[in-house]
Symmetry: C2
Subunit: 448 residues, 2 copies
């Protein structure tokens, strides 16, 4: 029944989230093809095959009925320059949110405040914008697809200072509406939405795991240890470098089909959760565990170039996340990734289905209430870590799928274990207080 | 003692707030000297001598430590083009607020929310921006000065959806800090801050009337009948066209010196408070009452060009405020203003000091608490209207100045009357309910 092959039909994709070295994303305003060329050349030197790019919403669509042709054309120019260096491009639509900064056009803020997920006029305008972007790039040979926007879910979660109250049903409609619009003008692209790990772990988050793992052509995984793992587990604990694989397996477990692609779309080595001289090791140790995953489409590191120290107010970690520094010099993590890519080309990691799966009760899958059972502070992650420590190389499976023999067979699952069976102690119970002082490393800095 | 002369030392200045006909202020992003030239040529055709211009803060300073040289240079280019058409230019710094839209850079919003009036880092960055603007244009021969920003006070008033809580003392310090910075690089300019009429009428507004009438080189008056007068007095009532003069006299009354310039920096004919075919008459009837005011520096109409119907979500009135339409054709109000300017050049209105002054209790002048006594719904405005109806041509005076004979003499005031003496009925008492259905014409539309 399972015709699994250990050979990838397509090579694993390796890419980077492109953060312009001069002026960060504000450089769209002073668009310089020469600067973009130099950046992309430095990215290609690592051996990467693609970049993810991020135009800014307020610059592209400053009025609800004004999409700037020059702004759209600049996105097309970046794609063309990428082609010169053998790079494919995935385009994010609505930014939206980037590295602690929110960029919303003035026609949805302040006196004009409107819900960006539910207001019909806003949605219609968003449809026009993503359609314009898709139409601009679809005919180019080196494009991959579109992501609706970078972690758009963040605008609707409880912790957001201007939370846009949205139900899961409304969020599903919003994602579907925009994806449908993009697919209409760009049917062959790989299109998806993206989100931070609140979607997997927070019961009240309006984007549900089901939406994460079913809408669009791939499931986007954004793996950041500063969100909780680095607070729960001390430096050197394998939980930190296994977190990305955990998220990849969690994404697998929430997919309805056994062969939905998972895109590790963002992963980075944030200081101080990762020591400044430990980024290369963190990178390798974080990526290797997932490289045998059959459905893993590719890895896109965050980010290409360090944010320049000339720019103020970024959370400290953002200044050092690059594979290259802001002078376009490759850093140790960049060199390590280049080695991994080169080695993987010579000798691809054989694919392996994971026969052992840790089962979890996914709760109400329509609303996502119950998903918090998989939070890194809980028993599911603890048991998964314990199984990993025992060399079991586990994946995850929802209890609701355990009666579906064909599904289990398609995933190669032959050994289902429960958390009770593993008997591991959750980190939250083991550590009553955070084990490190870098709590709120991200939001704490900017909300102070 | 009073050496008053009925001849102006300098001619009354006539100008317009420049609203670009293509793309409104978003046109800064697609800066076209040809479009600016065509706009300014059409403005000059009316006979105007100056424009007030409005760069957008987030475009000029997208990061706290990044002021875009190209953005600053574009402001200089507009000044140069204006010179080609004989137009002087006054530059507004921090936009800030324009026609219902708020433009704040991402480094002071959402996760990065900081008070734009009190946060030391934000103030330092604002100082850098206004300094950069001042330095760019100061050496040009056709510049007038800088306004710190358009109605910056709006961000701190109660009704603002994201109110920046600020005390009068903090606001005074903020205004002084920025004005000092501008004066340092541009000592000879006419610099001021600007504000809407909340400053004159709302006790809790953090900018006080004393700050309005003492900081900077002129007192800026923004006269908009939609804020309250059009709700309180029916169409055709003289209160509507006398409101600008009332504000000019109120600005006079709050000045410490008898010769501080008053700049009628914004006045417009907003539909439906002003009938669509009544804009020219409204313009003339609103401007004539103040033209004999010795301290009146000039009039700057809002605005030059109608907002194009291609742009969405503006309050309806903004689409028709232009002296010219969005195709740069002069409208009836523009023609009427051209006639007034031409006539005034041939035959300047003789200056006249107003011997009758209506006295009012200004309350606590340090905090502005008590200023609401002059609100258009109250007895001061009612009495002032009554005196005007009797042909008295009154000005206003604070009771706290009535013992200062030299001051009264310098203003030419010989006849002080009290509201009790006049005995007029306030509009608010006369009209229990608003007399027209255009209540909340401005905020109501966009907050719905």
């Amino acid at each position: 029944m399972n015709s699994f092959s250990p050979i990838r039909r397509q090579p694993l994709r390796w890419g980077v989230n492109y953060t312009p070295s001069e002026g960060w994303f504000h450089s769209w305003q002073d668009f310089s093809l020469d600067a973009v060329k130099a950046d992309l050349e430095s990215i290609a030197s690592i051996g990467l095959d693609h970049v993810r790019i991020f135009p800014l919403w307020p610059l592209l669509q400053p009025n609800r009925s004004l999409i700037r042709p020059a702004g759209i054309a600049d996105v097309g120019k970046v794609v063309d320059v990428a082609a010169e260096f053998g790079l494919d491009v995935s385009v994010d639509g609505l930014q939206g949110h980037l590295s602690s900064y929110d960029f919303l056009p003035s026609w949805v803020t302040s006196w004009h405040r409107r819900n960006i997920f539910t207001d019909p006029d806003v949605i219609a305008a968003e449809v026009e914008l993503v359609t314009a972007l898709a139409a601009e790039v679809t005919s180019r040979p080196n494009v991959l697809g579109m992501t609706l926007g970078n972690e758009t879910n963040q605008f609707a979660v409880e912790r957001h200072p201007d939370k846009q109250t949205t139900t899961p049903a409304q969020m599903g409609e919003w994602i579907n509406t925009l994806l449908t619009a993009v697919q209409k003008v760009w049917p062959e692209g790989m299109h998806q939405h993206s989100f931070d790990d609140n979607v997997w772990f927070i019961d009240s988050a309006p984007v549900t795991p089901r939406q994460a793992a079913s809408l669009g052509n791939s499931t986007a995984v954004h793996s950041w240890v500063f969100t909780s793992v680095a607070r729960l587990f001390p430096a050197g604990h394998p939980a930190r470098t296994l977190f990305a694989d955990y998220l990849v397996q969690l994404a697998e477990s929430w997919a309805e089909s056994a062969d939905r692609p998972v895109w590790l779309q963002e992963i980075g080595a944030p200081h101080p959760a990762v020591a400044m001289d430990g980024a290369a090791d963190f990178l390798e140790q974080s990526l290797r565990p997932s490289m045998d995953t059959p459905n893993l489409w590719g890895v896109t590191w965050w980010c290409s170039h360090d944010v320049s120290r000339k720019l103020a107010d970024f959370p400290e970690l953002e200044y050092t996340l690059g594979l290259l520094d802001s002078d376009r010099t490759v850093k140790p993590a960049g060199r390590r990734l280049a080695e991994i890519i080169a080695e993987e080309k010579r000798n691809p990691t054989p694919l392996r289905q994971r026969s052992t799966a840790l089962a979890f009760d996914a709760g109400d899958e329509a609303t996502g209430i119950g998903r918090s059972v998989t939070d890194p502070s809980g028993e599911v992650f603890a048991a998964w870590l314990e199984l990993t420590a025992r060399g079991e190389n586990p994946t995850l499976v929802r209890e609701s799928r355990l009666t579906d023999a064909a599904y289990l067979a398609a995933r190669g699952i032959t050994n289902v274990v429960s958390t009770a069976h593993v008997g591991a102690i959750p980190a939250a119970a083991a550590n009553a207080a955070p084990v490190e002082s870098d709590a709120n490393i991200w939001t704490g800095q900017v909300q102070a």
